[in-house]
Symmetry: D2
């Protein structure tokens, strides 16, 4: 698998859309990824994940969660091997809508590493960002829970402090700053502030034209990153 | 969609196998369904469900659970619309490994009916079989929890009492007697005792030759049913 | 222990108040129980339960839940033996704020009966009232979840249908009609409609004068019942 | 409230005993605390907590958990104000039998501090010990989950590494080393290794003579500490 590189963008439609609409959104993400040379984490609903992976060359498809178990019982659990076999490149863990306790999180990261799945862990406070950095995931999504879906962005203090804290623990962890991204300006601001990546759900799926918005945001990631790193 | 008819058989590999092995098992089930004219409920892991549905003409593919929500947030929830869009014919609810409270179960059945998904509810005791019969699902799987995976079958009293109780509440509900099915003899016995269907997980996936065992069990369903209804 | 008799009244302060305020409310309930010869179910917060039981002669003190376990591990679980030893007369189960699946509910009722604890099960729909009646609890609280705390009362159809349904399954089960009770008129109406009991949380704890309101409601239970049964 | 000082000992009977037996065990702990001048954290079952607090002068009584809520609904939740009002000195959080996600843990610590409750957080791995140290609780109980109740003690590497890691983050946090303590030798070893405290459940409640064992362990805490700090 290719190595995930900055700058990148995370888009996950949660359950706002399903079936064909997810596949179309993934197609748009794929095109923009190629056009602007920006890596994309596409967090797919469980039931659409394999189809997204099958049609995509360039996307890093993520499962939104996985459970800690090995093959056997657990009829409704998400088996890590099943995530891998479906074509996922990685797994998101500890989303604000599905937080997991630290022991389980640690065990899930270990299972993911065994299976060579990328690990993308969500963190809320700076304290939590530091705590999950100790697990050395591929990516940390730093996002104050109280801002998710509100259109209110993280303030610059939070962005700088959480990014620095993570890098002090492990400079190899990629940092995605996410909360409240609604516009291309929000995207620009997060990348300009030093994040490796940004992302959104509602900023795209609730936009008047989700496909155009997604493309514009991905273009902006590239522009902001190039400007910053010139 | 075709109407589900007796006799039928339920096979769900839980998380014992994943990916291609699930697809192969579904293929075997499909062939046997056609050869012996037996309907099959195939309960697929979430990540394999769509691929199973795509390759199958004859199987009734079930999701092992779904949540009660409408499109929107809930990144790790199983959206009913997503189950339908993936090609499922129905949904299993209240499995012993994922029991749900009665209010949620009632709401899930209502959502399934809106989406024209078959509802297959698991029940443990005779009291529970009666309780869930009041929700008028398509199928009730009567299976004393303490026997699941043990190879110990339900006794005749339980089979008769639970079947009769369900039919008294609603004669249109199909009754599947399941617990501890390991051999073709167990299959024969359950159908002979008056059940519309039987099924197993471990009886197939832990068998020396799962594909042959599955085929033999499906053939036996037909034989036992024909004998009983001559 | 005395046998619980109609008419009775259930009051549980949930977590609206704590410590001494719970003890004072229990004192008021005790006085009114004696004055109007009305039995009272007092559902006490876990941490206040024993103190309420210690100071009360007449109240039937209930735990708001208990878990299904026997002595051993489970540091945060509510052990049935512990409920009994603290002086509770019974246990409430399946409250809308803590629903339990049917298997667990059945097992909890069995544990309660072993320990000679009264069982008070909450039900939402008429279908659920019928389902839990099969477990033969001492009391069923019939209360459409969507009305709890709203001040909107159950309609007469629901009250009649749920009461009759429960009595058809088991005429020994006492029926408490509860939803949205805010005023003495609501209390009167529920008892007049044939319920054995009624009750409230927010109708008392959010009233301008909770103690006077509680006393008035208990007096009204007696008056409505005497009128109905003259 | 008195300040908790090293050396101290934590004993919590979980649900192994209930009612009067809990009160007797607390009495024994109280006597030993006075005799050997050792502080005791006594983690009481919810239903016995207030009675333990009422009879004890010297014990630091802990609730085994509390929820993050303010007065209102939540009939089965453990309200922080209720814990305080019942006489608890503090609260245990994140026990292996009731782990909580990091956001909830952080919020619970904040609520506890508002109410001047001691915070005693359990941690499993060294990574988790470091993570929870960032929340600056009063005490961290370092205990590899897989050893709880086994009688197998933590190895010296774990004890040293977890203790040092916590002290590097915040030297004011007291460190309790706990896993698998069964004998007075285990107690001695943990204190000698530099822990501020140790503790056990099964080592006491499953002993032939729990009261004598508890007293002996508390005496040993004093002896080991005096020896180490001479």
């Amino acid at each position: 698998m290719r190595k995930l590189r900055a700058p990148f963008f995370e888009i996950g439609p949660k359950n706002y859309i399903f079936g064909k609409d997810v596949l179309k959104l993934a197609e748009t993400a794929e095109k923009a990824a190629l056009e602007f040379d920006v890596d994309i984490l596409f967090t797919a609903p469980f039931l659409d994940l394999r189809a997204v992976a099958d049609q995509s060359e360039r996307l890093f498809v993520l499962a939104p969660h996985m459970d800690v178990l090995t093959p056997g019982r657990g009829i409704t659990k998400i088996l890590p091997e099943s995530v891998k076999a479906a074509g996922a490149a990685g797994v998101m863990l500890n989303h604000a809508e599905h937080p997991v306790d630290y022991r389980t999180l640690k065990a899930a990261v270990e299972r993911a590493k065994e299976l060579e799945l990328l690990t993308v862990i969500c963190a809320d406070s700076v304290a939590e960002a530091k705590a999950v950095a100790e697990l050395h995931p591929t990516v940390i999504i730093a996002e104050p829970s109280e801002l998710i879906g509100t259109g209110k962005t993280s303030d610059m203090n939070y962005i700088r402090e959480s990014t620095e804290t993570i890098r002090q623990v492990d400079p190899d962890i990629l940092v995605l700053q996410a909360a409240g991204v609604r516009t291309v300006e929000d995207v620009y601001r997060n990348i300009a502030a030093g994040a490796d990546a940004t992302g959104t759900t509602s900023g795209v799926v609730c936009a008047d034209n989700p496909h155009k918005t997604l493309t514009d945001m991905i273009r902006t990631v590239r522009e902001a990153f190039d400007k910053r790193t010139q």
